[in-house]
C-alpha cells in the first residue's frame, strides 16, 4: 500500500515530508471496540497544504494525534500502520527520538487556544520554555525571540503582550499566540487541527491568511484539519476526505470541487449554502455518520448514499485511481466523474 504508484494522489512537488501509511487505531471503550481509523494513508510534501476534511468523529483529529504522538493510550490502541517522517517510522522510534521530532519537526496548533494554552503561565513563558529547554537559550534571548515570534504573527504591542496571560488575549489573538508558539522551533510540518472553528468569521479569514503566508514563506508542510469547505477551497493544494475512519477520496483541490469522485464528497459540496439557492431549503446529507462500534458492512457510507447498489452493501470498495491524480473508495467513482 505504501508505494508511490498506489497511494500517491496528485502531483508531488518533492519527496514526502510525512507519510501516513495504512494506519489503524482502535478505542477500547466500555461499550466495545470502536474502530476509529481503518487504514488511513496520506502524504505531505514540504511547501504543500493538505486539507483533511470530514465530519466530527471521522478520524481526522485522531490521525493527527497519532502522528504527533499525543493520542491518549488508553483508550486508544494503534493496531497497525506507520507514520514516516523523512522516511523514519515514528511509531517504532524510541520516546527520546519522538520527543525530539515534536515541536521542531512537526508542530501542532489546536482548535481551542484558550484551553490549549496553560492558564497560569504568561504567553511569553509558554513560547520561551521551548527555546530554553530545547535550544538551551538564555532567558533574555528567549524573551527576545518570543517577542519576534509574536510580531511575526502580527500581534500588536508584542513587547507588552508577552507578559500577559492567555485569558487577557482575545480569541483571534490567542490563536495567533498559539501559532507563534508552534513556530518557535521552526517546524518543517505544521498540523492545524480546526484552527478557526472557535473564531468568528472575519477573524477566521485573518488566521487562515496568516497561516498561508507563514507556510509559503517558510516552505512548510501544512496539514489543515477542518470541516469547513469554505476554508479549504482557498488554501489547500490537495484534499483528503475522511468518513468513518477511512479516506474516501483524495485529489487536488480543484478536481475535488469540480468533479467529486465520491458520493460523500458530492453530498458535502451539495450541502454548502449558495447564493443562487436563496429562499430554497438547504441540502443536507440524510442520516448520521455510523457508530464506530458498528461500522456497516460493505461501504460504510451506503446507508446514506443515494447511489447505493447491492454491491455497496456487501463489498468494501477498494481505494483505487479512477483517473490520474485521484484516489477514490467508491465502486462507481468512474461513473461519478464522468457524470459531472
Amino acid at each position: 500500500m505504501s508505494t508511490v504508484d498506489e497511494t500517491g494522489a496528485g502531483p508531488i512537488p518533492s519527496a514526502p515530508l510525512l507519510e501516513v501509511d495504512d494506519l489503524f487505531v482502535e478505542f477500547h471503550t466500555r461499550d466495545g471496540v470502536a474502530r476509529v481509523l481503518n487504514g488511513v494513508s496520506y502524504r505531505v510534501a514540504a511547501g504543500e497544504t493538505l486539507a483533511v476534511l470530514g465530519e466530527s468523529g471521522s478520524g481526522k483529529s485522531v490521525t493527527a494525534q497519532t502522528v504527533m504522538g499525543i493520542l491518549d493510550t488508553p483508550p486508544g490502541v494503534i493496531t497497525g500502520g506507520a507514520v514516516r517522517f523523512h522516511g523514519e517510522d515514528l511509531l517504532t522510534a524510541p520516546d527520546r527520538r519522538r520527543r525530539a521530532v515534536r515541536g521542531s519537526g512537526i508542530a501542532m496548533i489546536f482548535q481551542d487556544a484558550l484551553s490549549a494554552l496553560n492558564p497560569v503561565f504568561t504567553v511569553g513563558f509558554q513560547i520561551e520554555e521551548q527555546l530554553r529547554v530545547r535550544r538551551g537559550m538564555s532567558r533574555k534571548d528567549a524573551r527576545k525571540r518570543a517577542v519576534e515570534l509574536l510580531e511575526l504573527v502580527k500581534i500588536p504591542n508584542a513587547r507588552g503582550r508577552v507578559r500577559q496571560y492567555p485569558h487577557e488575549f482575545s480569541g483571534g489573538m490567542r490563536q495567533r499566540a498559539m501559532i507563534a508558539m508552534s513556530l518557535a522551533l521552526d517546524p518543517e510540518l505544521l498540523i492545524a487541527d480546526e484552527p478557526t472553528t472557535a473564531l468568528d468569521v472575519t477573524v477566521q479569514a485573518q488566521i487562515m491568511d496568516l497561516l498561508k503566508e507563514i507556510q509559503v514563506e517558510r516552505h512548510m508542510g501544512l496539514i489543515l484539519i477542518t470541516h469547513d469547505l469554505g476554508v479549504v477551497a482557498e488554501v489547500a493544494d490537495r484534499i483528503a476526505v475522511m468518513y468513518a475512519g477511512r479516506i474516501v477520496e483524495q485529489a487536488d483541490a480543484r478536481s475535488v470541487y469540480r468533479r467529486p469522485g465520491h458520493p460523500y464528497t458530492a453530498a458535502l459540496l451539495d450541502s454548502l449554502p449558495r447564493l443562487d439557492q436563496k429562499g430554497t431549503e438547504l441540502n443536507t446529507i440524510k442520516g448520521l455518520p455510523p457508530s464506530l462500534l458498528r461500522i456497516p458492512d460493505g461501504c460504510p457510507f451506503h446507508p446514506r448514499c443515494a447511489r447505493a447498489q447491492d454491491v455497496c452493501r456487501t463489498e468494501v470498495p477498494p481505494q483505487h485511481r479512477p483517473e490520474p491524480g485521484r484516489l477514490s473508495a467508491c465502486h462507481f467513482a468512474e461513473e461519478l466523474i464522468a457524470d459531472a
Partner: protein, 309 residues
Amino acid sequence: MGRYVLRRLLQLVPVFIGTTFLIYWLVWSLPGDPFAGKCGDRPCPDAYIAVMRERFHLDEPLVVQYGRYLWNLLQGDFGETFRGLEVGELISNAYPNTIRLAVVALLIEAVIGLAAGVLTGLRGRGFLDNLTLVSTLFLISLPVFVTGFALQIFFGFELGWIKTTVAKSPAPWEQLIAPGFVLGSLSMAYVTRLTRTSIAENKHADFVRTAVAKGLPQRRVVGVHLLRNSAIPVVTFLGTDLGALMGGAIVTEGIFDIKGIGNLVFDGIIGKDGLIVTGVVTLLVLVYLLSNLLVDLLYAVLDPRIRYD
C-alpha cells in the same frame, strides 16, 4: 489589590469584635463558681471572695466587663489569671510550642499528602490507588484521640521508638514528629484525595497535551504544567488548615503533654479561669482570620485569572 487588602482588613474589625464577645459571654456564663475549691479543703472565706470579685470586676454587667477587656486587649494587655499570672506571658510561653507542632503537622501532611496524591493521580486505577483510598478513608474515619493514643501506646510504650510525652518547653522538634503526624493525619488524608482528584482531572487537560506536543520532557510536563495547575486547590487548603491545626492541637497536646496553648486553654477551662480561655481563643480567631486572608491573596498569585479589583 491594595484596596482589596484594605477592605478585607476592615472587615476583620466587626468579625473580631463579634467573635470575641461571643467567646467572652460563653466563657463567663459557664456554670460554676470560679472560687470553689481554690482554698484547699475549706471553702474560701467570704472576705477573700469579695476582694477577688472586686478586683476582677465580676459584679459589673457583662457588657461593661467585655468593654474593659477589649480596651485592655487593644493595648496589648490580656489581663491576669486568678492566681495573678499575666495571661499574655502564659500565651507567649505556650504559643511557640503550638506553632512548632502545627508546622510539623503541616509539613507532614503536605509532603506525604502531595506525594501520595500525585503518584495515585498519575497512575490511575490499580493496587496503589486502592491502598491509598482505603488508608485515607481509615484515617478520615478515625478520631484524632484514637490515632493519638494508638500511636503513643504502640510506638511509645511497646516499641519505645518515640517519647510518650514531650513536657519540655520549648518542645524539641524531633519529639514533635509523632504528635505532628497525629495532628496532621486527618488533613493528610484530605490533601492526598484532593491532589489525586486534581491531578487525575488535569492529566487529560488540553494544555497538558499542548505541553507534550511542544516536545517537552515528561518531567517538565508533569512537574511544571500539570503540577502547577493541580496545586492550586491543595495549596489553598493547606493555608486554611494552618489555622485549623492550631485550634485542633488541644487534643493532641493533651495526649502527648505538650505545653502549648491547647494545654493552656484546657487548664483554663478546668480552673474556670475565663481570661485564659478568652485570650487564647481570641488569638486563635485572629490567626484564623489572617491566614484566611493570606490564602485568598495567595489564590490570586497562584491563579492569574483571579483578580480582586
